[in-house]
């Protein structure tokens, strides 16, 4: 009686063990890739930032002491916050429309959101440069409408950077918002209405709180992507908006100072990780699959 049972248990344990082995085998290529292409360079970067003919914290000391760096970090953070806010305001109605339209229209709206993804950031940035320049379409239209007499400075400053970056980053806001909104059961909205909640009240007390996971995920994503944005601000900022990413590239291209560039990169990475950790503690639901 006992023997077959014991045998069954053994084979169950065996199959469990081989399943585990298979699990790791399947994971191995991805793990190796991450280790070789991400962890190794990062370690190298971190070492480089503190090693110039011996251990030194000089690169980090300069980050703290020189006001140029503090200003650039402050500008980068402010711009990134603005990007989160702008894309949230623009993206929320788009995501709402996509989540509540009939399936045919939903495909169209999401398609329009995603199509720009297929064009390179460089091309889109140059396109904005053309549109926003002194003699560009936008300025001509503003003058034709009589809103302004002289061309408005829309490029080579922060306005241009904001407009172009908002356009490029919008999908990263819309898609998480859409994912969160799509999960909100229609019945809850009906329930709120039947219980006396007018459209605004229902939005404020039911819809908005339930879409918060998407708001947080989208905002963090856009914020973190903005922190490291390079091509667009370089092209449309005209050298006036010196972001952290440009400091890194300048330290390498102009001064051939890899140590300083590495130190800035490590500092930026630390900021990003801190923000992700903060977002995770503030809104655990945005990160876990289980909810409701």
């Amino acid at each position: 009686m006992i023997a077959p049972l014991a045998k069954a248990q053994t084979s169950l344990r065996d199959s469990g063990r081989s399943e585990e082995l298979l699990f790791w085998l399947l994971l191995a290529p991805a793990l190796l890739m991450v280790a070789a292409l991400l962890l190794a360079p990062l370690t190298w970067l971190a070492l480089q930032s503190v090693w110039e003919n011996g251990f030194t914290l000089e690169n980090y000391r300069r980050l703290v002491v020189e006001p140029l760096y503090a200003r650039s970090f402050a500008l980068t953070f402010r711009l990134s916050l603005e990007m989160s806010a702008v894309t949230l305001l623009l993206g929320y109605p788009v995501a709402y429309a996509a989540a509540h339209l009939s399936s045919r229209w939903r495909v169209l709206v999401l398609g329009l959101v995603v199509v720009p993804f297929w064009t390179s950031v460089l091309v889109r940035s140059y396109a904005w440069l053309v549109l926003l320049q002194r003699t560009g379409v936008v300025n001509k239209m503003l003058q034709a409408l009589g809103l302004t007499n002289a061309p408005v400075m829309l490029v080579n400053n922060e306005i241009g950077v904001t407009i172009a970056m908002a356009h490029i980053l919008l999908p990263f806001m819309v898609l998480p918002l859409f994912a969160a909104m799509e999960k909100i059961p229609e019945e809850l909205i009906r329930a709120a209405a039947s219980l006396g909640g007018g459209p605004l009240y229902t939005f404020r007390r039911v819809y908005l709180p339930l879409s918060m996971p998407g708001v947080i995920a989208g905002s963090v994503l856009v914020f973190v992507l903005s922190l490291g944005f390079y091509v667009t601000p370089e092209l449309l900022g005209g050298g006036r908006t010196l972001l952290v990413s440009m400091l890194i590239s300048r330290n390498i291209q102009l001064y051939d100072h890899w140590g300083a560039a590495s130190a800035i990169s490590v500092a930026l990475l630390a900021c990003v990780l801190a923000i992700l950790a903060l977002a995770r503690t503030l809104a655990p639901s945005a990160w876990s699959a289980e909810d409701r």
Binding site: E187, R190, A191, L195, G196, R205
Partner: protein, 372 residues
């Protein structure tokens, strides 16, 4: 704005209930008619069930009553007010949804307080109301619990408390018990019935479960393919189905074609059955043999009882009763229920054995074979 909402609340405490009048309601989706010229008057304080198979239009009707959908034609009246175009949040209806639709980001107390806060009632006033509503559904002290911590039955009670906390004159329930297990469902039916008695609000209850409808309702409206086929009290509906659909849908009946013999008699093969009811005037007829109305009779029979004879085709043991299938002389197989107690089992012969069944003339239900 403030004055208006306060007026509504004041109104609600004045009269406990409101009559509902559904007039010529139709809903078309292209060529498909979800509802086809439905008219129904529901008295103030009445418990009206909408009963029908899936796709019969009962949920469409509830959606229109709730204001979530607009009809293609017809109107809805609450008392003497036409509310056909009134948005849901101005209708003052308490709705209990099939899947409870509790707000997952709010506590039990916040869920129940929602209708009161939406009406801008001061916290000092709504606290007591929330406690009273939760006490009424036996969930006193659950205010701070999160919805995720509750069992299915408790969620159902919270949904109920939330729907009644603002003293609505009309309560709509969309299959509220369908997700509960059988025992809980049956005890909730009794509780809902008692709660309706205490609150006195007009209640419209959608269900596909006939027993649920029979247990709780003052009247039942049976729907089929978007039309009302019969509106009656539970007893009249069960005992006097007016057509073939109701006869087959309500209860557990076998429909067998019969021949007309005179004004109050029909025949199955050689057996002649007398009915105390009036037969449909014309057309082919069916007899609705409800399983519990047939009794095992001695071959000679008792006086006045209609007799059917046949052989036992199968016996299924189902706990409280046996379901016995019998093949009548002339072919048709019918079924009846026999209590599973000792005496009841003793009356059933072996499979293949001869059996005589008695049916009282007042239980002899004859309907038209034509649909409608």
């Amino acid at each position: 704005m403030l004055a208006r909402t306060n007026d509504v609340v004041h109104d609600m405490t004045e009269n406990a209930s409101v009559g509902v009048s559904i007039r010529g309601l139709s809903v078309h989706y292209g060529a498909f008619r979800a509802l086809d010229n439905v008219s129904l008057d529901i008295a103030p304080g009445e418990f009206m069930s909408l009963l029908g198979p899936s796709g019969s239009g009962k949920t469409s009707l509830l959606s229109i009553l709730g204001g979530f959908a607009a009809p293609s034609a017809g109107s809805i009246w609450f008392g003497d007010a036409d509310v056909t175009l009134t948005p849901p949040h101005r209708r003052g209806i308490g709705v209990v949804f099939q899947n409870y639709a509790l707000f997952p980001h709010m506590t039990v107390g916040e869920n129940v307080a929602f209708p009161l806060r939406a009406r801008r009632i001061a916290k000092s006033a709504w606290r007591a109301e929330v406690r009273r509503a939760l006490d009424l559904v036996e969930l006193g002290g659950f205010e701070e619990r999160s919805v995720a911590q509750l069992s299915g039955g408790q969620r159902q009670r919270v949904a109920l408390a939330r729907a009644i906390v603002f003293h609505p004159k009309l309560i709509l329930m969309d299959e509220p018990l369908s997700a509960l297990d059988k025992q809980l469902r049956e005890s909730m039916q009794i509780e809902l019935r008692a709660l309706h008695g205490r609150l006195g609000a007009t209640t419209v209850y959608v269900t596909h479960d006939q027993r649920e409808a029979l247990t709780m309702s003052n009247r039942i409206a049976v729907l089929k393919a978007g039309r009302l086929v019969q509106v009656d009290t539970p007893e009249r509906l069960y005992e006097n189905p007016q057509n073939r659909f109701v006869a087959s849908f309500i209860g557990e009946a076998t429909l067998v074609p019969v021949q007309r013999v005179g004004t109050d008699c029909v025949s199955i093969g050689s057996a002649v059955l007398r009915s105390t009811r009036s037969l449909p005037a014309s057309g082919p007829l069916l007899i609705a043999l409800q399983t519990e109305k047939l009794v095992v009779a001695s071959p000679g029979g008792e006086a006045g009882l209609n007799l059917l004879s046949g052989v036992v085709a199968d016996v299924i043991y189902q706990g409280e009763s046996l379901r016995v299938f019998a093949q009548l002389e002339g072919g048709p197989v019918i079924s009846f229920r026999q209590p599973s107690h000792h005496a009841g089992r003793g009356q059933i012969p072996q499979r293949g054995g001869a059996i005589t069944l008695g049916l009282h003339p007042s239980d002899t239900i004859i309907v038209s074979a034509e649909d409608g």
